[in-house]
Structures are given as C-alpha cells and as structure tokens.
C-alpha cells in the first residue's frame, strides 16, 4: 500500500514540504478521512496527499498548520496506543483523529477541506458518483425549457403588491 501511494508522490506543484515519513503518515490519515468506497481506494491511496501538500504547503501559515498537525497526530498515536499512526487498526486511527480534531480544530478542518477538494476533483471519483468529469464549457447542461403552465395557479391570484401614493 505504501509503495503504491508513494509512487504517486513524484512531483507536487510547489516545492516539497513533507519528507517521505510525513507523506506515508498523511496518506494513512487521508485514507481514514475519505475511506475506500465507491469501488475506489481511500483518498490517501488515490494520491490526494500530493494535492494537500501542494495547496496547504504554499503559504507559511498553512504550511505550519499542516506540519504541526501531522506531528500532533503522531504524538496522539504515541500517547494513546504507543505506536505509530500507520501501524494502528482503522478504528484506533479514527479515535486518534477524533482526538486531534477536537484539540486542533483549525488544522483538522483545513485538512478535511483540502482533502475533499483533492478527492472530489479526481476524474475517477467523478465517474464513481455519476458526475460528468469535464469543464463546464463548452457543453453546459441540457435542461428542459421552463413550463409556463406551472404558473397557472399563481396567475389566478389577484395582484397583492402595495401601492404607494
């Protein structure tokens, strides 16, 4: 699993922020935020970590949030189970993440937000949820024209706007 994941980590858009160990940790975390489903692996194994690293890693304040947050996850794993996060069972991992979520809400909500952004812009995910994976233009969407008969009932109502002097 780790090999498959790290093979996707070959070039975030911005300068590298995380080392290999942090990337393995982030992959495992993202696999719990959006677990396997839709016939697809979890967000971490789909390579969303690279997106999170390149987006959260850009601005100094956000980068700090990410780096400190990952360390907090390791600390919480050590405190609770005495093991690395990546070695825990899924349920234990979720317990750790819930602890970190309540202790460090700014980090965790940013992480979830960027994970969703990365995950739900993947063409494979679009296919799985039945969303056409293409730019909005030039095709747009076909919709039936407005049916004026829907307003028949409303047209029977006498005017009720307020007249001014």
């Amino acid at each position: 699993m780790n090999t498959a994941a790290s093979s996707r980590y070959n070039g975030p858009a911005s300068p590298a922020v995380l080392d290999e160990e942090q990337r393995r940790l982030l992959t495992a975390v993202l696999n719990r935020i959006v677990p396997a489903g839709n016939g697809l692996p979890g967000a971490g194994d789909l390579g969303v970590g690279a997106t999170v690293e390149s987006t959260l890693g850009q601005a100094p304040a956000q980068r700090r949030l990410l780096l400190d947050g990952l360390t907090e996850i390791q600390l919480a794993s050590g405190r609770g189970a005495g093991r690395d996060f990546t070695e825990l069972e899924a349920e234990q991992q979720d317990d750790v993440l819930r602890d970190v979520e309540s202790a460090h809400p700014a980090f965790f909500s940013a992480l979830v937000d960027h994970t969703y952004r990365g995950y739900y812009t993947l063409p494979a995910v679009h296919a799985a949820i039945g969303y056409e994976s293409r730019p909005p233009q030039p095709l747009g969407h076909e919709l039936p024209p407005f049916d004026p008969s829907l307003l028949d009932k409303q047209r029977q109502r006498p005017p009720f706007w307020r007249r001014t002097s």
């Binding site: 489903g37 909005p136 919709l143 039936p144 407005f146």
Partner: protein
C-alpha cells in the same frame, strides 16, 4: 429600459409586483429542483414566481450566446450570457469614445474656489499621482466606496468630507439581512445543473403584517447548488459531509439531492450602521481604508427567525427529509446601500432626485449609496435604472451643467476602474 438594454430573462404576470415591460428573453430553465420547490409553495398556497435573471436565455445582443446551464456563473461567463456591464454597457461606451483607465485608485475629488468639483486626484496603474480635471464628476463606487471617497476628500470648504455639510455621508448603511436554509431530498434533483443564483422565489412574506413582531418583510429565494466539492465541504446552510466511516453514505444522500433557500430581508436605515474612515489603516497608496460598523437590528433578527421557519416549511412541503439552518449567514452583506441617501431636503439627504449632490452641484452619484430604503430584492437593476435616469438628466441639462465651472476644460469623458492593480 435597463432590462431591454442589458437583456434579461423572465416572464410577465407576477401578481406580487407591479406590471413590467415584456421580458426580453424567456425564463431560464428551473430544472426538477425548481419544479419540486414550486410544488411545495403551491401545496402551502404561497406565492412563487420564476425569477428574472440578468442572463439571456435566447440569442440577444451582439457577440453573446444564450445560457447553456453550465453552472458556475460566479467564475465569470465565458459565453457572454450573463448581462454584466463588460458585455452590455461598456463595449458601447468605449465605441462612443469613453476612455476607460484601469488599475487606477482615486484618492480624492478636489473642489475649486467656487466649491464645485474640480476633478479627481488619482494614482495611475503605475502608482503615479495624477490629476484629471472635469466639468462634472460622477461617482459610482457603491455603498462603501462612495462614502469612503467623499470622506477622504477634505478641504477647507468641506472639512468633514465632500458634500457632507449635514454629516450624513456614510450613515444609514443597509445590507440585506440574510439567512440560509438547506434541504436534503430523497429524489435526485440535479441541483448543480443550471445557473447559480435565484431560480424561483416567493414574495408571500414581503409586506408588513401587523400580527408579526417585525415590520417590512423578506423574499424567499430558491438557490442552486454547485458540484461535488461544495457538496462535500458544505455550502450556504448545508454543513460539510462528515469525514470517516459514514462519509460516502452521507455524501450520496446529499449530492444532487440538495436545495438551498435564502431568506433575504428588507433592511431598515439606521444612523448607527455606518461607513467611516479607519483612523490608522490605509491601502498601499495611503488612501484611508473604510471602517464599517454594522449590527443586525432586532427587527432584522425577528424577521430572519420568521423567514427561516417559513423556508423550513416550504422545504418540508416539497418533500425534504432533512433541513439545515444557517442564521444569519455570516458571509452575507454583499448589497451595500443607503450611505448617501437621496431626497428633496438638503438637511436630511445628500443627493437630490437626480442623484446630484445638494452641496456640490456638479457632482453626481449613481450607485447603491443613494437608496433611501433597501427593499428585499437584489439592487443592481435598480442602480442601473437610476444611472440611466441620471444620464438622461445630465444630457437634458448639459448646457447648464457643462458651463457651471468657469474655465472648464473641454469635455472628454473618462472613467476610472479601481480593480486590476495588485
């Protein structure tokens, strides 16, 4: 006239509003999501109508294509279906010889010895200070920008800011109090397909009802959703989808199954809601930043509470299985009105019925700041209609207006756009 000039979509016959000219293009599609909500309103016996939209649904104007329901209007419309000023008024104004200077920031409007506006002092796109003299000056910086500029324009004749002899510049700021309500429906509604913004609306609770604990009223707006990312991260009233084991089941319940409603209330003008100048904060050119003080009145809070309950009833009548409320929507307050109000009496208003400043007779304002009341409808077309009306007045009075200033330079209309410079 404005609706015809820019091209709007809609349908005549709404009993909640005075008759209007034939709509230039037919209504935009409301999709199954709009039809579902229409059934909900009908079931309750409440008013609803398909919204006018400043988007063309059929060929209209030059070089523009009708809307093809792509969705994210807020990113800018690449096909020119949205009737924004860049595809409606600006091309014609430029063709007629108006010079548009982009990347500029106006520092102040100066006055001459007679107390008339002399022109604008501005930083150009390279940050160089310049003066543009003019026989008359028209401001269109809206409810925060216009008072900011007037208050920044101090002179011995106007020590408290230009055209501010009565001290009312910046007072009576109105937003539209806004709450968001969302519903999850069992059936798929394709609610991300089609133009974002109001699709259908209800004016059932628009007018004052003495039986309620607030005056005036609100519009209920039915608003589309966008795609998977905003479903996951939450939008309007709908919170983010939870992470973890239940993520996929909750996401699939919501994606394409959501309807959002906005409760948009009429704000009341109150002097304590105001725009002043920040005593210390300034932009990169040293122009003082606006300081906005605003609080929701008890009237608005009661109104929003009432509207949130009614929106929930409408969603449930239409079949929603779950309802979310976000009251008030913190990231609202996008309609900026009332800070340079219009009126006949110079003691309690800033501009006359033509948008002409009482104190500075060659200065005009055409934006949301001249509104005296806010109504509970989007203000842009009214602002545009007022601008056309003022333009007619200036045209009619041009001989008097252009000769007001002695030694006035020849009249070359120019316009500053403050956007675009980093």
């Amino acid at each position: 006239m404005n609706d015809r000039e820019i091209g709007v979509s809609g349908i005549n016959g709404d009993p909640s509003q005075p008759p209007r000219s034939p709509r230039p293009t037919s209504p935009l599609p409301i999709g199954s999501f709009g039809a579902t909500m229409a059934r909900g309103f009908d079931k309750l016996g409440w008013h609803w109508w398909v919204s006018d939209g400043a988007i063309i649904s059929e060929p209209y104007g030059e070089g523009r294509q009708p809307c093809n329901n792509c969705g994210p209007c807020d990113l800018g419309c690449p096909i020119g279906a949205r009737s924004s000023a860049d595809v409606t008024y600006w091309p014609r104004a430029l063709k007629l010889g108006v010079e548009l200077r982009t990347g500029c920031r106006v520092r102040e409007i100066t006055v001459d010895a007679q107390g008339l506006a002399r022109g604008a002092v501005y930083y150009d796109e390279r940050g160089q200070l310049r003066e543009q003299r003019a026989p008359l000056v028209i401001l269109a910086c809206n409810g925060v920008g216009t008072p900011r500029l007037l208050l920044s324009s101090r002179s011995p004749r106007f020590p408290e800011g230009l055209a501010n002899r009565n001290g009312l510049v910046g007072k009576n700021l109105m937003f539209h109090p806004f709450a968001a309500v969302g519903g999850v429906f069992p059936e798929e509604l394709d609610s991300y397909k089609g133009p974002i913004g109001t699709t259908i609306f209800s004016h059932e609770f628009y007018e004052t009802d003495p039986g309620r604990d607030f005056v005036r009223g609100y519009m209920l707006q039915v608003v589309r959703h966008s795609g998977p990312v905003s479903t996951a991260n939450g939008f309007f009233a709908t919170p983010p989808v939870p992470w973890g084991a239940e993520h996929h089941s909750v996401f699939s319940q919501r994606f394409s199954h959501l309807v959002s409603m906005g409760v948009m209330g009429e704000d009341l003008p109150e002097p304590i809601n105001e725009v002043t100048l920040d005593p210390s904060l300034a932009d990169a050119d040293g122009i003082p930043a606006p300081l906005v003080r605003y609080r929701l009145s008890d009237n608005s809070l009661h109104m929003l509470e009432h509207g949130v309950a009614r929106a929930g009833e409408a969603l449930q009548a239409a079949g929603a299985s779950e309802v979310f409320v976000n009251n008030p929507l913190r990231a609202s307050g996008w309609h900026l009105l009332g800070t340079c109000r219009m009126g006949d009496d110079p003691r309690n208003s800033l501009v006359d019925r033509w948008g002409r400043a009482h104190d500075v007779r060659n200065l005009f304002i055409v934006d949301g700041s001249i509104f005296v009341t806010s109504a509970a409808v989007n203000p842009t077309t009214t602002i545009q209609a007022l601008a056309l009306r003022t333009a007619d007045y200036i045209k009619r009075e041009r001989h008097n207006l252009l000769s007001m200033r002695r030694q006035a330079p020849s009249f070359t209309p120019s316009c500053f756009s403050q956007g675009g410079r980093q």
